[in-house]
Structure formats: C-alpha cells, structure tokens
Amino acid sequence: MIDSHTVKKSLVAIIGPTAVFVAFLSAWYAVAYSLDNNFSPASGKPMIVPPPHRLFEDFSGTVRDRIFTALAISTRTALTGLAISAVLGVLLGILMAQAKWIERSLWPHLIALQVTPIIAIVPLMIRLIGANFTARVAVTVIISIFPIVSNTLFGIQSVPQGLRDLFKLHNCTRLTVLLKLQLPYASPAIFTGLRVSAGLAVIGAIVGDFFFTRGDPGLGQLITFFFLNNLSGPMFITALFATLLGLMLFLGFGLVNRVVVGRWHDSSTL
C-alpha cells in the first residue's frame, strides 16, 4: 500500500521540475516575441529566437542529416575524451593518494590546468597536435579531467582510520588495500566525479569544435555554420541536441553508478 508520505514525495518530485520547465518555456516565448514584436510569418524572415513550437519547422532533409552527423561526431569526441579522462583521472587520483609528497607535487599543476582558459593554449595545441579530432579530444580531456581526479582522491582519503587499521593489521599489500578497500569505498565519489565530467566532456567536445575547424564538423561547428547563415531554428535544435547529449551521459553514469555501487550508498538511489 502506498502511504501519503510517498505520494507527497512523488508529487514534489514531479511538480517542482514541471513548474520550473513551464516557467522556462514562458520566459522563452516572452523573449522570442519581445525581440520580434513585429514578426509576421508571411514575411518569410527567420525569427532571432524562434519560439519552442516553431523550433522543428526546419528539422528535415539536409538540416536533420547534418545535425545527426554532427551529433555522432561530437558524441565520439566527448566519449573518447571522457574515457581518457576517466582512466587518467582515476589513475592520477590513486597515485596522489599514495603519498602526501606526490599529492603536493601534482596539485598545483592540476589546478593550473583547470584554471587556464582553453583559448590561451589553442595556438600551442595547434602547433603540437594540429587542428583535428585529436586536438578536440585533448580539449575535452583538459576540461573534464579535474572532477575525476579530485573526487577519486577525496574518496580514497575519506576511508575511515579504523578500516585502514583493519587492513594494516593483516599486513596487506598496497594493491590489496586499493582493490578491497580504497576503490570500493571511493566508488560513490568517483561516480559523482564522472557524472560532473560527463557534462563537461560534452562542453569540451563543442568548445573544441569552435577552435579546431579541420576534420569532420561536430555540433560546435554546425552551430557556427547555422549562426553565420542566419538559421536560428536549426541553431537552437543543434544546441538542444548538445544538451540532450550531456543529459544522456549524465543519466548513463547515474545508471552505471546504481549498478556498480548498488544499495549501500545514498548516491546510487538518486
């Protein structure tokens, strides 16, 4: 039997986001028609900001094909970058957790990497890598790696002293402690980092597109193309697909978190 508390909780979970979404759509309509207050459909001129119900008017034929192709390319860039960030980030987090001097040696450089504006290192990257797919993946890694490193380190360092003592009493090797204690204990934190990084990886893939124009065009290049050709509708649809890609990756990691972490931590029930 469903109790009133559960019903109330479910209603709050539905009503809250729906209300915000309706407010967002209302604001969108307000902006769309206030910018084009003399708009007439008969004029054939595109609106600066098309209202939501007119977004998909141009979503057919070549536009649709170009968006799907760009989506596939950006997905490949984001996933490749995210995979590299995940492996490298977890390894760096583990390495930094091994000794204070390693942590202190690497932290300043990671923070420097995190705060450096990508545009400042674009010329260097073009020199070193070129303006291609690899460069776009590199940008994705630079943008998305930090939360994975910091969360892995935080998760490992959060292991309670009593548990560490328990393993110490058995003279366990570092590898045993890592595999049987530290990584499982840190897994909720690592997955939180991965979920944040998943969104950042999509941003990285699109931002990379703006800077590196050689190779197959991703969503970023397509947004630029639609913007330059005054195609507001397709430009907004492309942005919408970029958002959906980020959302899918975020939810995907949420599901993996639920499978891997299981029922022992609150994060897996979100």
């Binding site: 009593g162 328990l166 110490k168 009493l169 058995h170 366990c172 049987k180 029922r263 022992w264």
Partner: protein
Amino acid sequence: MTSVLEFIDVRHQFADSTQALDITNLQLNPGEFVSIVGPSGCGKSTLLRIASGLLAPSSGSVIRNGSLQFVFQDSTLLPWRTVRKNIALNLELDDVDKQEVDRRIDNVLQLVSMQDSAEKIPRQLSGGMKMRTSLARALVCEPDIFLFDEPFSALDEFSRERLNSDLRSILARINAASLFVTHSISEAVFLSDRVLVMSPRPGHFIEEFIIPFGSLRSDELRYTPEFASLTGRIAAAFRGARQ
C-alpha cells in the same frame, strides 16, 4: 604459565613530545579477561594500538605469543559487503581456504545470533547488530588474543548489557585472552577477571582489582551487593586517578 601478551618498560611519546604512556609491566595470561579503565586521554587506546602492533612504542618491548584480533570502537564494517562477507574479510585477507571460511562463518553466525541477518548490508543493521558482526569477524579467526577498544560505548544501555552477557558466555567457551578498554566500570567488572585502573597521562597502572565472580556470570550479578561494592571500590580508585 607463559603469558600471551607482555609489556616490558613500554613508554610512548607523541610527535609533539607529549608523554602518553609509561607501562612498567603488563601481562595477559591465556584465557584471561583484563579490562583497563581510566580517565579520557590517559593512553588506553594508545596502549591497545601498541599491543596490536599498529603503533611502535618509543621505548620498551611488547611480546606477543599468539595470533591477535582487534575489535574497534566503531564496527568498521565494509558498507558494500553483506554481514557474511564482512565476517569473511579477515579470513580472506589471511588467504584461508573458501570451504573452511564457509564452515567457520556458519558457526560464528550462530554464536553471535546473526543467522537471520547474514545477507543484510550494514546500513540495514542496528548499532548492536553491527557490533555483533564486528565481534563475529574477530571470533571467526579464532585468535589467541582479543583487543577491544570500547566496542560497546556507542550502544544504548540495554544493548550494551545484552552484548556484555553474550560476549562473556562466548569467551567462556574458548580459551582466548582479552584486553578490554572501557569507560564503564560496571561493564569492566561484569566482563573481567582483572581490572586495571590507569592514571592520567602519562598513563600507568595505579591499582589492580581481582574479580572473584567465576567464569559463568548471569545478568543478576549486576544487582548483587558484592558487585556494587566492587564497582564502588574501582570507582573510588578511578576518581583518585582523575584528581
């Protein structure tokens, strides 16, 4: 009789030069249950960490004749493992054969009355059940020495008394020695063969009490005049130590 654990002129000083411990002599005999009571910060936990080998003393020597298990103040269970798998952890880390692990776990689950909760994870357990699991994880290794660092301090009075009774009856069946640190004098008297009272820092023993109640003790013991009298004498020594 060869003692299973012996401290000889053990002193310990922390990194900030605080003198934490000054134990001239401590002997723990096979099958004996010794409790240590003393004011907060007197070095009781430091003494246990040195006894277990987790901490090396600044000077003096510790002789251990037998295997050892530590039961911590927190239950220190791995939150992703079931009760059964948590109990198996110590054996797993010691590379004990899988069949032997299963056999021993079945026995110990019965011993701590946790058969029905074997497949639960720690967040589904009460504080008392978590501590039973922690106790089972130590018992399953069949050690010669148990070190207890205030294991029941976070429990309510009722759970604490039940676990005291259960621990006493479990240990009466095996020939293991125990060194038990607690703040509760009545707990120390109920469980122990000997109670040692420690002074404030640097911790050393100022008085020893022999507990004459035999190996099998019923819950009613706590309400006898003899128990009250002994508890009162230890409390007086404890108060003296704090001043």
